[in-house]
Amino acid sequence: MTDVLAIAEHRRGELRDVSFELITAGRELASEVGGDLHLGVISGDVDAFADDLNRDGVDAIHTVDDGEEFNHDVYAQAIPQLFEEAGADILVTPNSVNGLDYAPAVADDLDLPLVTDSVALDGGDVTEVTREQYGGKVETTYDVDSESFAVTVRPAEWPQAEGDGDAEVTAVDVDIDEDAIRSEVTGFEEVGGGDVDISEADVLVSIGRGIEEEENLVLVEELADALGATLSSSRPIVDNGWLPKNRQVGQSGKVVTPDVYIAIGISGAVQHVAGMKGADTIVAINTDPSAPIYDLADYGIVDDLFDIVPELIEEFGGEAPNL
């Protein structure tokens, strides 16, 4: 039997959605390779988490009661022991910031080939993993010619598992070497506050690296004004310090769900899309017809923003600034 061990993720007392997606991905994979799906739950209120994770398709749940929050030194020690306890061959973790903070180390310790950020899995004697490359412009497939491997799965690609399960929950006593705990989480901080809340906006004019220079921002500011819309952006604009953090849409910024999202000069990287795919209508203005944003957009203009935006401003009775 080829068994799968998937590792749940939680933060500040809550299981994260990706944990339930892992159950779906892990169940499919386990069935394809002909094995059981085990779940590992480490730290926090493990009993409550296990209860919640006990969904249809899970064969066994192993809990490790050690500490409250994620600490990669605990995870890196506990997972190999769970892997052995479960008799697992395949390790599945979220491709989240924390998943990527332990999966490479665990894969290395267990000598498992690692494929990160998979968007599709096709299990078999040789498992095929699909992932994206070059900023989502192409997909690639990899054959994993090994019964045993580790894979991290992209959040929001698999549906969440539902339905009650009847997995047996076992508390596992793992050996944690305190000397090998070389980092200490001292707290959390919320960033991106302030007077503007882009997640409340009905219409967002959102600008990306296509704007090129800080001086050019007046163009989209003017457009937002003319439309009575709110201005938001992709990450590089905030990284450059051109707009404050509270304007950033995406995985590490805000999740927005406006009626209309106008993405201007934004390629549509996965971490950006994580923040805006729930918008009712998405409009893209981008010179590159193969930009991934067009996979998502309802409407598009494949043209230069420096030609389109001034026209739009004038359509709404504004005056396009001279750049």
Partner: protein
């Protein structure tokens, strides 16, 4: 004190491109220093400017072509560079994270740095795993996705913010030596000055083969094999407005008015 920075020359794809075999055809690729590594280099150089006797060494894996990119890191203030390359790496489809971190680990063992900075991910492959695997191979501590760093190498601690999802940062104290994967936005990477570019030509750039590093090609073998690359079928069914900017902007304006989201 010594800071080792892992850097990669990444391929950027032109708007229109073709795939030949298992990769994008060379003629549609342009090369540049990986965005995240640019921030990592800057973080190291700033520390070396603020503290006495800190050497910044960069290490890359890449063919001769990548020297141009590596020189950019030298021009921005790194002191010397190491480039790992080998005939046996010529023409391989891709390097697994295991292989990459194995080579970087061999260099790091040689260099014995006090801290290692790498980028969170590379722009082209986006594995996002090299730094953490490297740390494990070196038996160093690590932290992934660091967007604020308060480093005290004398004390042996790095106070970091790890940028999690949803605007939450985790505050963590990390014991050094460690590998930190550096997130974009942590600093403001400088442009190389003309003087810097001139000086970079004089700085040491050492080329190391697998043999030099005590590795054999077998140690880089991976059970992973890339089997295809293709343009994903567009899942969307976007309506693309066509015509002059005046026409297309007009279409969008009409749409917005019809939708009733704007007045006027």
């Amino acid at each position: 004190m010594k800071i080792l920075v892992t850097v990669k020359e990444v391929a950027e794809v032109e708007d229109e491109f073709e795939i030949s075999g298992l990769d994008i055809d060379e003629s549609y690729l342009e090369y540049d220093l990986n965005e995240w590594d640019d921030y990592a280099v800057e973080e190291a150089v700033q520390y070396s400017e603020e503290n006495d006797d800190v050497e910044v060494v960069t290490v890359t894996i890449g063919p001769e072509r990548s020297e141009e990119t590596i020189r950019m890191a030298l021009a921005k203030g790194a002191d010397r560079a190491i480039r790992v390359w080998d005939d046996s790496l010529e023409g391989v489809d891709f390097l697994s994270t295991e292989a990459t971190s194995e080579m970087l680990a061999a260099v790091a063992e040689e260099e014995d740095p006090d801290i290692v900075f790498s980028g969170v991910q590379s722009d082209d492959d986006a594995n996002g795993a090299t730094g953490v695997m490297l740390a494990n191979k070196l038996d160093m501590e690590w932290a992934a996705v660091v967007n604020t760093l308060d480093l005290d190498l004398d004390e042996g601690v790095a106070g970091v913010h790890r940028e999690l999802e949803g605007g939450i940062e985790e505050l963590t104290d990390v014991r050094t030596p460690a590998v930190l994967t550096i997130q974009s936005g942590i600093n403001e990477p400088r442009y190389a000055s003309l003087r810097g570019i001139r000086q970079a030509q004089q700085k040491p750039l050492d080329v190391q083969s697998l043999d030099d590093l005590g590795l054999d090609t077998g140690s880089l073998d991976s059970p992973l094999e890339r089997t295809s690359m293709y343009e994903p079928e567009s899942e969307g069914d976007a309506t693309i407005w066509e015509g002059s900017p005046e026409d297309t902007a007009g279409e969008l304006a009409d749409f917005l008015r019809d939708k009733g989201v704007v007045e006027g």
